[in-house]
C-alpha cells in the first residue's frame, strides 16, 4: 500500500514580510466613527473617531457646546451610555435635552472648577469600559489653570481610550491634548440672528474647521433656538 501524498507546506517568503510584521507591530486600523449629528460636520469628517481623543476648541459662543450636545444626543439615541465631566459646572441639561439628549443615559460629574478633580474623574471613567462617549469640558476654566495639566496626562488618556469603543471629547478654549488628539476641530461663530419675541435669540451660524486632519473645507451649520 502506498502512503498518501503529504501536501507540502507553502514556503514562507521571509523577504516578502515587512520588518514591522516580524516585530509584531500592527499598523493602526481606521477607527469606527460616531456621527456628530450635525450633517455638515458629518459630511466633512464622517464623525468622531471611537477609541481616540477628539478635541473641540474655540472662544466662548463659538459652538463647542452645540457640538458636544449633538454628539451626546446621537450616542444616547443609540442607547449608548455617556459621561460628562463638567469641570466648570456649566452644563445645562435643559438645553441638552432640547438637542435630543436622553438624560437617563448621561452620567454627569460636576467638578465645581477643580481641574484636578476633573482629570481624576475622567481617568476613572476611562478605566470603566463600556461608555459610548466620555466628554471632558474645560470651556470656562482660565487658561492659567489648564496650563498646569502635565502633557503626560493626555498620553495616558490616549492609551486608556485606545482599545475602547468610547469617543473621548475634550472641550477647551485652546488645544490641550495637542498631538494626542486624533481629531481637532476649531470652532468659530459667524452670525447670530436676534428677534423681538420668544425666543429672543433665534439662531447662530457656526463654522467647524478641522485642524487635524487638516481639511481645506469648512463645515458650516446653523443652530436654532
Amino acid at each position: 500500500m502506498s502512503a498518501l501524498p503529504v501536501p507540502l507546506a507553502p514556503k514562507r517568503d521571509l523577504q516578502s514580510l515587512r520588518s514591522a510584521d516580524l516585530l509584531g507591530w500592527r499598523s493602526p486600523s481606521a477607527p469606527d466613527l460616531l456621527p456628530t449629528g450635525i450633517p455638515a460636520a458629518d459630511a466633512l469628517l464622517g464623525g468622531c473617531p471611537r477609541g481616540r481623543i477628539t478635541e473641540i476648541t474655540g472662544p466662548p459662543s463659538s459652538g463647542r457646546t452645540t457640538v458636544l450636545h449633538s454628539v451626546l444626543a446621537t450616542a444616547s439615541r443609540s442607547a449608548e451610555t455617556c459621561a460628562l465631566v463638567d469641570a466648570s459646572d456649566s452644563f445645562d441639561p435643559i438645553s441638552a435635552a432640547r438637542a435630543g439628549l436622553d438624560c437617563k443615559r448621561l452620567h454627569w460629574v460636576r467638578c465645581g472648577g477643580s481641574v484636578e478633580h476633573a482629570m481624576r474623574a475622567a481617568d476613572l471613567l476611562l478605566a470603566s469600559a463600556g461608555f459610548g462617549v466620555i466628554a471632558l469640558d474645560f470651556c470656562d476654566l482660565p487658561a492659567s489653570a489648564l496650563r498646569r495639566i502635565p502633557q503626560a496626562f493626555w498620553f495616558r488618556f490616549r492609551r486608556a481610550v485606545e482599545d475602547t469603543p468610547a469617543v473621548f471629547l475634550v472641550l477647551a478654549h485652546a488645544a490641550q491634548a495637542r498631538s494626542c488628539a486624533a481629531l481637532s476641530l476649531d470652532m468659530k461663530r459667524r452670525r447670530a440672528e436676534f428677534s423681538g419675541g420668544f425666543p429672543v435669540l433665534r439662531s447662530i451660524d457656526y463654522e467647524a474647521i478641522s485642524r487635524k486632519p487638516v481639511r481645506a473645507d469648512v463645515a458650516s451649520f446653523r443652530a436654532i433656538a
Partner: protein, 434 residues
C-alpha cells in the same frame, strides 16, 4: 394529630396563643388557627390534656364567647370540628361519628351541588359519607368526591405555617474600641458573607444596606453640651440594583465610610440588609455595550467620594418652566434599550446650546431707553428682549424676571436678566450661548 382553635373574639391574638404550643401555626382565616400537637404528648400528655391546656390558655385571654377547640388526625377535619361543634372535640383516627351529625351546609359546597344533594335527600355529612364513591365520581365529579373524603376525615394535607419574616441582620460588640476603617471592614466583610449566603439560599438579593456603628461614649467629665454626640453613626446605602456580590457590596461600604467616617472610635458594629428580588438582565445582540453595573457603581462611588455625594449622577428634568428645573438623581442601571420613537421623532435639526453660570454672575448694566447698552465694561453690540417670565409665586422657589439675549463686545452671546423680585436693579448674567 392537629389542633384547631376557632374563636372570633380574638382573631389577632390566636396565633400568639397557638405559638405557645407549636411554632408551626397555620392561620386558616381570621379567628381560625390550626397547628400540630404530636410533639406535645411527652410534654403535656394525651389529646385531652392538650385540649385542656389550650382551653386554659384561652381562658387566660379572657374571651367573652366560648371558643371551639378540636383535635383531629388531619388539619381539615380539625377545622371542620372546631368551627361547627361547640366546646372541645377530640376525634381519634378513623372516628368520624361526631362529624356525621353535622348538616351539609357546614361544607362550603357550591349552590348547584348543594341543590343536587338536597334533591337527593342528603342532609348531613353522615349521609354524604354513606354514598358510594364511584357513583359520586360518575354523577357529581371530583368536587363532590373531595367533600365526601372530608366528611369521612380522609383529606390529609401538609400544613401551611405562617412563616416568620427572616431578618438579615448581624451585630457584634467589640472588646476594644476601633478607630480605623480596615478592621471595621473586616467585620463587615464577615457579616456580608454570612448574610449573602442566607440571601442566596432564599433566592433574594440585597436592596438596602444599613450600617450602624456605635461610637465610644464620652466620659461624663468631658461631655460637651452637644446633644447628639453619643448617637450611633448610621449609614444607609440604597443600591441602584439588587445584588449579593460580597466584593462589590464591601467596596461600596468602604467608599461610603471613607467619605463619611465616624467621629470617634467604634464600640459595636451592626449591619442590616433589606432584601428584594434579584435582578434579571437579558442582554440583546444588537444593543450597544454599556458599562457593567457593578463596575460603574464602584466608579461613580469613587467619583462621588472625590467631588461630593450630590455632585455626580444622572440629570432628571422637572415638569416646570423654572430656570434650572432639573435635579440630579442616582444613576439608572437598567439594561440599555434602543428607543426607536425618540430616534425617529428627533430630527437632525441642530439646537442652540446654553452654558450656565452657577451661580449667576452679578453685573452692572447701563440702561438707555429701556434697553441694556453696557454690561460692566463691555458694550452691547446686539440685544433682543425683554422676555418676562415668572412662576412658583406661591412658594419659596418663586422667580420673576426680564430676560435679554445680548451680544457683547467680548464677542460672546449671553443671557442677561433683571431680577424683579427686589426693588433694586439686580442684573445677572445667567449663562452664555455656545
Amino acid at each position: 394529630m392537629f389542633a384547631c382553635i376557632y374563636c372570633i373574639d380574638q382573631p389577632d391574638g390566636l396565633a400568639r396563643i397557638a405559638n405557645q404550643f407549636s411554632p408551626w401555626v397555620e392561620i386558616v382565616s381570621p379567628g381560625t388557627v390550626v397547628f400540630p400537637v404530636d410533639g406535645l404528648r411527652k410534654l403535656i400528655g394525651g389529646p385531652h390534656q392538650i385540649a385542656s391546656s389550650i382551653g386554659k390558655a384561652l381562658f387566660d385571654a379572657k374571651l367573652r364567647r366560648p371558643p371551639g377547640i378540636a383535635i383531629a388526625p388531619t388539619p381539615d377535619t380539625a377545622i371542620l370540628a372546631a368551627r361547627h361543634l361547640p366546646g372541645v372535640t377530640i376525634l381519634a383516627p378513623g372516628e368520624t361519628s361526631a362529624l356525621g351529625e353535622l348538616p351539609i351546609e357546614s361544607l362550603p359546597v357550591g349552590d348547584e351541588l348543594y341543590d343536587t344533594l338536597s334533591r337527593w335527600g342528603i342532609r348531613s355529612l353522615g349521609d354524604l359519607a354513606r354514598l358510594p364513591e364511584t357513583g359520586i365520581a360518575e354523577r357529581l365529579g371530583a368536587e363532590a368526591l373531595r367533600w365526601r373524603a372530608l366528611a369521612l376525615g380522609r383529606i390529609d394535607r401538609p400544613l401551611k405555617p405562617l412563616a416568620e419574616p427572616t431578618r438579615y441582620e448581624r451585630r457584634t460588640e467589640l472588646d476594644h474600641p476601633l478607630d480605623q476603617l480596615e478592621p471595621i471592614l473586616f467585620l463587615l466583610s464577615r457579616f456580608l458573607n454570612e448574610l449573602c449566603d442566607e440571601l442566596k439560599a432564599q433566592s433574594l438579593a440585597a436592596g438596602v444596606l444599613l450600617v450602624t456603628l456605635e461610637i465610644e461614649k464620652l466620659p461624663s467629665s468631658s461631655v460637651k453640651p452637644v446633644p447628639l454626640s453619643n448617637q450611633p453613626h448610621v449609614r444607609t446605602l440604597r443600591l441602584p440594583f439588587p445584588t449579593r456580590d460580597v466584593k462589590f457590596l464591601l467596596k461600596l461600604l468602604q467608599h461610603d465610610l471613607e467619605a463619611h467616617p465616624p467621629t470617634r472610635a467604634i464600640t459595636a458594629v451592626g449591619l442590616k440588609i433589606d432584601c428584594s428580588a434579584p435582578r434579571l438582565l437579558q442582554g440583546g445582540l444588537f444593543v450597544p455595550q454599556s458599562p457593567e453595573p457593578e463596575k460603574l457603581e464602584l466608579t461613580l462611588g469613587k467619583i462621588r467620594g472625590l467631588v461630593g455625594q450630590e455632585k455626580a449622577g444622572t440629570p432628571e428634568l422637572l415638569d416646570t418652566w423654572r430656570p434650572e428645573g432639573w435635579r440630579l438623581t442616582s444613576s439608572d442601571h437598567a439594561a440599555p434599550k434602543r428607543d426607536r420613537k425618540t430616534a425617529l421623532e428627533t430630527g437632525l435639526t441642530t439646537k442652540l446650546a446654553f452654558r450656565m453660570f452657577r451661580p449667576p454672575r452679578k453685573v452692572r448694566v447701563l440702561v438707555e431707553a429701556g434697553m441694556p447698552r453696557r454690561v460692566n465694561s463691555e458694550r452691547v453690540l446686539e440685544v433682543a428682549g425683554p422676555w418676562r417670565t415668572s412662576g412658583d409665586w406661591w412658594g419659596e422657589m418663586m422667580w420673576d424676571r426680564d430676560e435679554w439675549d445680548v451680544a457683547l463686545s467680548d464677542l460672546a452671546l449671553y443671557r442677561l436678566f433683571l431680577d424683579r423680585r427686589t426693588s433694586s436693579d439686580d442684573w445677572f448674567l445667567e449663562g452664555s450661548y455656545d
